[in-house]
């Protein structure tokens, strides 16, 4: 009994021991599984977050003719898993040898933290760098594919398109607008629908090229140019020099690279006279044939208003425009009065902040207590600071049939534009404004912009800049607004040049007719064929509308 019971008891014990052993192993595995599932994994969390951020895909952006302006391409990013590294010091040294501009010390530190499961080494490397790092064969170094935003046209389209940050989020310009309207996909797979901007890349380049030449020729500080379709409110070209390459978004923040067309506010100078005259003619209080005394400077409240090109005679309305008479324009504005003037500028959108797709916009600087003296100075473009973009939008309304359209950077048709357009001017006034603008290019200060065939109309403006609280004589801001062809305008143009210098070719003059006007002429000659404007070398004569030509004698310069 005793002999037989011994081995049996032993075997029972063995079976129980084995069962206990298996149970312990399975419990351990089960427990670990529960832990893995239930507890967050701090080591891999950084990596999962990074992968989620990489999934943002942005829509491609094209210009109005289908030329690529911005796209996402795949780029590799290098990351490290220090907890899997064998020799962190050696790894850091080898990587620093392949990527020379990396901070080797910071790399050492981040690799030595054995607990960490995910650190970026370098985002968005070139394929060549990726190959080189891959060839090092360091354990714990790996790659992630992410989408990188690139702008193949570089600085050609900078302010309008804006830029994105390293996580592909729009931080400026049109890109920021795309984020706002949720046109980006975040699941990493679907490609959002491409967006067509209103810009024309070739026109944009022509404008930028001529501005850059003008900037160098007149030794100016800055220059900007804007081309709009007057019948749709589309922005065709948007150049503000100096500009930046959106592939290097940090440059966008440099103060000298600001967007001068929608963020800068300026006293627009005599280009504002077109608005003043349109207001007076539209009110019915002033006719083309009315005459205004410009023999003596206009005195008001202790101030004296002079004419830059003094004529010392009585001028009719076209002569006031052609000679750019401050006295005449002020007297015309006084006919309408302070309230009428204010209401008109409000209606033209010049007293409120203009918001387009671009998030960067500035509010106009409007005088707080607007009296007669303000109306006098604002009539010729001093004392009210507005953005060039809103000025051109208002000027478009004077010639396109009288419709104020909000400028847009997205391609649209005339019909779409008319849905939101607001009539601000009577058609009769529009005919008169076309006549006046054209006349100024024929016999007035805009002659240097009169490119044969394209019936250019325009108005010069030279605003003295305020230096230390006083208007400066030699520091000026020159502007030129143009329309073409002026018998049936299709496009408008605004060129501004900041602090141009007088050069021998301009006989030392630094006024708009000597710099902004010829620059505009060169731009028109280049872009009109691109825009499909047909030249006409035998256009009908430019007769004043509604008036017998004989009863209105206009003496030019």
């Amino acid at each position: 009994m005793k002999r037989s019971s011994g081995p049996r008891r032993l075997s029972t014990l063995r079976v129980r021991l084995a069962a206990a052993g298996f149970l312990a192993v399975f419990l351990a595995i089960g427990g670990k599984l529960i832990l893995l599932g239930a507890l967050p994994d701090p080591q891999n969390k950084a990596r999962f977050d990074a992968e989620a951020a990489l999934a943002t895909r942005r829509p491609d952006i094209y210009d109005r003719d289908g030329r690529l302006l911005a796209t996402d391409i795949r780029a590799a990013s290098i990351f490290a898993e220090p907890n899997r590294m064998i020799d962190p010091d050696e790894a850091a040294e080898e990587i620093a040898a392949v990527l020379p501009d990396i901070n080797a010390k910071a790399l050492h530190e981040s690799f030595s933290n054995k607990k960490s499961g995910f650190v970026w080494v370098r985002r968005e490397v070139t394929p060549k760098q990726q190959r080189e790092v891959h060839r090092l064969g360091i354990p714990g170094i790996d790659f992630l594919n992410e989408q990188r935003r690139i702008y193949p046209n570089g600085d050609l389209v900078s302010h309008a398109i804006g830029s994105v940050n390293i996580d592909n989020q729009g931080i400026a310009g049109f890109e920021k607008y795309l984020d706002r309207v949720h046109d980006v996909s975040t699941d990493g797979k679907t490609r959002p629908k491409p967006v067509e901007m209103s810009l024309d890349l070739v026109v944009q380049q022509a404008v930028r090229d001529e501005l850059a030449k003008g900037l160098a020729k007149y030794k100016a500080k800055a220059a900007s140019g804007l081309v709009m379709n007057v019948n749709t409110g589309e922005v065709i070209a948007f150049v503000s020099l100096p500009d930046y390459d959106p592939n290097v978004p940090a440059d966008a923040l440099k103060p000298n690279n600001i967007n001068r067309l929608s963020v800068g506010v300026y006293e627009m100078g005599s280009t504002f006279k077109a608005l003043t005259l349109a207001m007076a003619l539209d009110s019915g209080k002033v006719k083309l044939t009315d005459r205004f005394d410009a023999r003596q400077p206009l005195s008001y409240g202790g101030f004296k208003i002079h004419d830059f090109h003094a004529t010392h005679r009585i001028l009719n309305v076209p002569e006031v425009f052609v000679h750019s008479s401050n006295i005449g324009t002020a007297r015309i504005a006084m006919e309408v009065g302070v309230d009428g003037h204010k209401a008109f500028l409000k209606k033209m959108g010049l007293l409120d902040r203009l918001q387009t797709e671009l998030p960067e916009s500035a509010s106009p600087i409007v005088p707080k207590n607007w009296g007669t003296l303000n109306t006098i100075t604002i009539s010729f473009g001093h004392g009210l600071s507005v953005t060039p973009l809103q000025t051109l939008a208002a000027t478009d309304a004077l010639v396109n049939g009288g419709y104020l359209m909000k400028p847009t950077f997205i391609k649209r048709t005339h019909e779409e534009a008319m849905k939101e357009a607001k009539r601000v001017i009577k058609p009769e006034t529009v005919a008169k404004m076309r006549y006046l603008m054209r006349l100024n290019a024929q016999i007035g200060s805009a002659r240097q912009a009169d490119i044969p065939g394209y019936r250019v109309g325009g108005k010069t403006g030279t605003a003295e800049k305020v230096i230390n609280g006083r208007y400066s004589n030699d520091k000026v801001m020159c502007a030129f607004t143009a329309i073409f062809p002026s018998d049936k305008p299709e496009y408008s143009l605004l060129v501004m040049i900041d602090e141009p210098q007088g050069i021998p070719e301009t006989h030392g003059f630094h006024t708009s007719g000597w710099n902004a006007a010829p620059m505009t002429g060169k731009i028109v000659a280049r872009i009109a064929p691109l825009l499909g404007v047909v030249p006409d070398f035998n256009p009908p004569p430019n007769d004043p509308p509604g008036v017998a030509a004989a009863s209105l004698v206009v003496n030019g310069e």
């Binding site: 690529l68 796209t71 380049q205 044969p452 280049r526 009109a528 064929p529």
Partner: protein, 156 residues
């Protein structure tokens, strides 16, 4: 009893066959699924490549780069507005002259009639346009002039 045994055997055999077929189908389906996945990955990769090449093309096609190249190598200037005309403003096309036929005629074909019908296509064309067919001498003169070999007056 015997029938039941045969039925059993048949059933067993059918089971084996169907298992085999199912296995095959499953295997094929897995293979096809992998193939679909592979092709999808390839399409995605090709799309990325097209995208990258499109970006590269846009970079090479930059208008300022084209302008720089044109100024450097072609010596072209901007178009004059006068070069921009509508179709009805174009002058009528000049009669087409076949210089090679002229040269051949002036070189060897002295004894052959130049404007012989019907095998002279140039003469035919000229006639069809309602113009006078030039004589042999005219054509030789024009050819020599075009080549800058002096006038026929000095040679004769």
């Amino acid at each position: 009893m015997k029938i039941a045994r045969i039925l059993n055997l048949v059933a067993l055999f059918a089971m084996l066959v169907s298992a085999l077929v199912v296995y095959r189908i499953k295997y094929q389906a897995t293979y096809q699924a992998e193939e679909v996945e592979r092709l999808e990955r390839q399409i995605a990769r090709e799309r990325e490549d097209i995208n990258a090449l499109g970006a590269l093309w846009a970079q090479l096609d930059r208008p300022d780069r084209i302008q720089m190249l044109a100024e450097k190598h072609l010596g072209l200037t901007y178009a004059d507005p006068r070069q921009n005309v509508t179709a009805d403003q174009l002058p009528r096309r000049a009669p087409k002259v076949d210089q090679i036929a002229d040269i051949m005629a002036s070189l060897g074909g002295d004894d052959k009639p130049l404007a012989a019908e019907p095998d002279d296509p140039i003469a035919r064309t000229i006639k069809a346009m309602g113009l006078a067919v030039p004589t042999k001498e005219d054509r030789a003169d024009r050819t020599l002039k075009a080549l800058g070999i002096g006038t026929s007056g000095t040679e004769q």
